[in-house]
């Protein structure tokens, strides 16, 4: 989407733009994107229509800041585009980090940036302003931590989900799902066949992998195939030795299996032929790749599968090969399934004590992990070991609506998970507004005009979300802010916030992590942008390719 409705000053070719007119154009780009995003802020929000590149198809209706920022790829002229792309990059960072909060970040950024420009225009030093902004923004973070409460109870889950997706049925279903499976779970979002929002809890453990036999062995064409009384060979080996497969097949038959699932790194043509010759409807055989990309994760996953199924994993790292396989290395499960992209196990025949012990160790490791990526990986492993999975069915209609709804549901799920992990804040801008009180005590001890103005900017930015929400609801921002501050913060989160556009009694919640990320990105982005003194244009501008 390109923005062509805004007034355009003279275009720029290449070189350096650095006078007041250039900076004003840069600012216009920032304000243009923020203006686009403002209407979609809040649980009951407006929409932004994206007419598309030709304008001939039906417009795409956008309801979240991240998608609007993503669709806006260019503004003319180039110097305005720089401003818009600066904000766009910042918003995308927020989205990538916490999946939500882009509208909040855009609104806070725009409000503070406008004030900052006004201050600099009045003669304040931008660099000093930046230092004071960075220094005093930590008071806000401390206050947000003070307000943070654990997310617990179905009603609170639903309140948070509603504030993210703005859809009552979807929020209810997501709340039910996470109240049931908790944070360490696999939740898949899929289009519903009945065109209704709903959910199912599953009790199997499943992994993403690809079919090594490409479905040729037993005609696996897209659909999921159920396996009964299934023997499982777990490995990260290249399955290219026919006599290894013969040993595995013999062992599976000897132990009374009704089907066989082979897990390995690759499958040679010779072995594929062998499997095809021995696979039948009475004894189906499937071969799937070892899940996970990195060797360390693969080893952990193999050990998880082996524990569930009671197998001994054949690992390259330990020198496993065709001659080291023993009949007891095979694992078993009562039921399993394979598709081209996943396989799943249910009622593995591994020892209960071993599985319980592995889960216990994983929980301890997870509690002590601070690394986000590692935490994510451990959480996923725990969800598989404890068989905590669910499908969230979403409604739709046309393919595009289904895709939009799926994205919305997935985003809401991510925010709910983050909130389960890190806590929640009063929603609808109330948490940030309440933080403005934490700024006041510092105004008495200011040492220079830039510090006083930085405190003013922070307070103005903290009020901005409530102000925008009031405007979107057709209320007077000043009146709403005064009422909200007089009423005070709901300490327990059980009271409805002063601005409750849904009009319910449960209140609206925001994820602590989302609001914190939005605030931090906005403040640091403003502090940085205010010190931009010149803009360099390369001769061949590169069109933004990411996000």
């Amino acid at each position: 989407m390109t923005l062509s409705s805004l007034p355009r000053p003279n275009g720029y070719r290449h070189g350096v733009a650095g006078d007041e007119r250039d900076i004003a154009a840069f600012d216009r780009g920032i304000y243009a994107l923020a203006t686009l995003i403002k209407p979609v802020y809040g649980p009951i929000n407006g929409v932004v229509a994206n007419a598309g590149p030709t304008g001939r198809s039906a417009p795409e209706l956008l309801t979240d800041g991240a998608t609007i920022a993503r669709r806006l790829t260019e503004i003319e002229p180039r110097v305005e585009n720089s401003g818009a792309m600066y904000l766009r990059g910042l918003l995308w960072d927020v989205h990538r980090q916490v999946s939500d909060g882009t509208s909040t970040a855009a609104i806070v950024f725009e409000a503070m940036y406008r004030e900052g420009r006004r201050g600099i225009g009045a003669g304040l030093n931008a660099a000093r302003l930046r230092e004071h902004l960075r220094h005093h923004s930590r008071h806000v973070h401390i206050e947000l931590e003070r307000q943070c409460s654990p997310l617990s109870g179905r009603a609170a889950l639903q309140g948070l989900a509603r504030s993210v997706c703005g859809d009552e049925a979807l929020a209810r279903a997501i709340a039910d799902v996470y109240a049931g499976v908790g944070i360490h779970s696999q939740v898949d979002v899929r289009p519903s066949r009945t065109d209704r929002v709903g959910y199912d809890f599953l009790g199997d453990s499943y992994w993403k992998a690809h079919s090594l036999d490409n479905g040729l062995v037993r005609g696996l064409i897209g659909q999921r195939v159920e396996l009964s009384n299934c023997a499982i060979f777990v490995s990260d080996l290249d399955l290219d030795e026919p006599h290894l497969l013969i040993s595995v097949l013999t062992a599976a038959r000897n132990r009374g299996a009704d089907s066989l699932l082979l897990i390995g790194r690759s499958l040679s043509k010779q072995c594929l032929g062998l499997l095809a010759a021995n696979s039948s409807s009475a004894f189906p055989i499937y071969a799937m790749s070892t899940p996970d990309a990195t060797p360390i994760h693969q080893i952990e996953t193999m050990d998880d599968i082996a524990t569930i199924a009671g197998a001994v994993a054949s690992k390259q790292a330990t020198g496993a090969g065709p001659d080291s396989f023993k009949e007891n290395d095979l694992g078993f499960c009562r039921r399993g399934w394979v598709s081209r992209t996943h396989f799943g196990l249910f009622a593995g025949q591994g020892a209960s004590e071993s599985l319980r012990q592995r889960i216990r160790e994983l929980r301890v490791t997870l509690r002590n992990t601070r690394d986000r990526e590692r935490e994510k990986q451990l959480s996923l492993r725990l969800s598989r070991l404890t068989a905590r999975s669910a499908v969230l069915w979403i409604d739709g209609g046309t393919e595009r609506i289904v895709e939009d709804r799926k994205r919305l549901a997935e985003r809401t799920c991510r925010v709910v998970r983050n909130a389960l992990n890190n806590g929640v804040l009063p929603g609808a801008g109330i948490a940030l507004l309440e933080c403005s009180r934490s700024i006041d005590p510092h105004t008495a001890a200011v040492t220079e005009p830039e510090e006083a103005f930085a405190l003013h900017m922070l307070r103005y930015g903290l009020e901005a979300p409530v102000r925008t929400l009031a405007q979107n609801n057709g209320q007077s921002p000043g009146v709403v802010i005064t009422q909200s501050l007089n009423r005070g913060l709901s300490k327990t989160l059980s009271q409805p916030p002063p601005l409750d556009p849904v009009g319910n009694d449960e209140g609206i919640l925001d994820s602590f992590e989302v609001i914190t990320a939005a605030w931090q990105h906005a403040v640091s982005g403003v502090a940085q942008a205010l010190t931009i003194g010149a803009i360099v244009f390369p001769r061949s501008p590169t069109i933004a390719s990411a996000p």
């Binding site: 049931g180 499976v181 009790g203 249910f346 009622a347 209960s352 004590e353 319980r356």
Partner: protein, 313 residues
Amino acid sequence: MTSQLGDTVFDLAVGRHTDGGLVILAACQNGVFISIDMAETWSGLWLEGMATAIAASPNFASDGVIIAGVHGGIIQSDDAGASWAFRSLDDPRSLIASVSIRTSNGSSHLMLAGSVDDGLYRSVDWGVTWRPSNCGAYIPRITSVLAGNGQLSLAGTDVGLFVSTNDGLTWDDELAGEIDAEVTVVAMKDNLILIGTAHDGVYAKCMNPNQTWFQLADSALVGAISAIATVPDSDGSIRVVTVGNTHAQQYRLNVERNSPPVYLLRTDVLPTPALTSTVLPSGATVLAVVADTQGSILPFSIGLEGLSSAHLD
């Protein structure tokens, strides 16, 4: 008052007859049997194979519902055993170890079945359809289930306990606090959870995350626990009766406190080694029905005054 049923008994259940009398149901090697005269005489209700678990509806007098676990499925009667319907479960066929029925004001009902291979099954339409319900219940070897009051349900496994707070839809092993024990029987009284184990006696705790499990019965004395019953006492405490292989024991618990004091009231030696048994509250006295390996059924009452032969009340 011993009765020779002459069959291996796997499970017993009790219900009230329309006239208020007691109905004893037995799941046996050769089918399902019923006695309405305190185990003096028995008649076959379903004789088409082995029944491994049995439960009667709490409203048995009015609805006549019985469910029993059989090889590969559940059989159900809605007319006190006059006719039966078979509900097949998933292949490969599994053995049902325990079944439970909860009725609540005639509307919110729940049936649970625990299998020794395939985990839990759940029905919310009076047994018409049964669906696997193992989300979070990662151990598929279920030894006992209880569809409790409210939305709380319990499932014992060979390595611990799972708790569900949403009518058996999802399960959690941490909710009640982890416990490492082979669970043989589960029981519940309001907020109090009790589990009988194969080797470690009886444990209890309230559904309070800050409270840890505390041990009631000494495993050396009671052996594997096969039944637990609770009787509320007038002073607000709860009397717990446990039945093991050789002994029945009574305890008094004060569940209001974080670490409830446990008082052993008395220990009685059972007149016959029990293979399976069931107990139920019956006023201030607990009636126990014990079956031994030979199919002998012995009803007796356990009161504060001690063990005595049961009589029709």
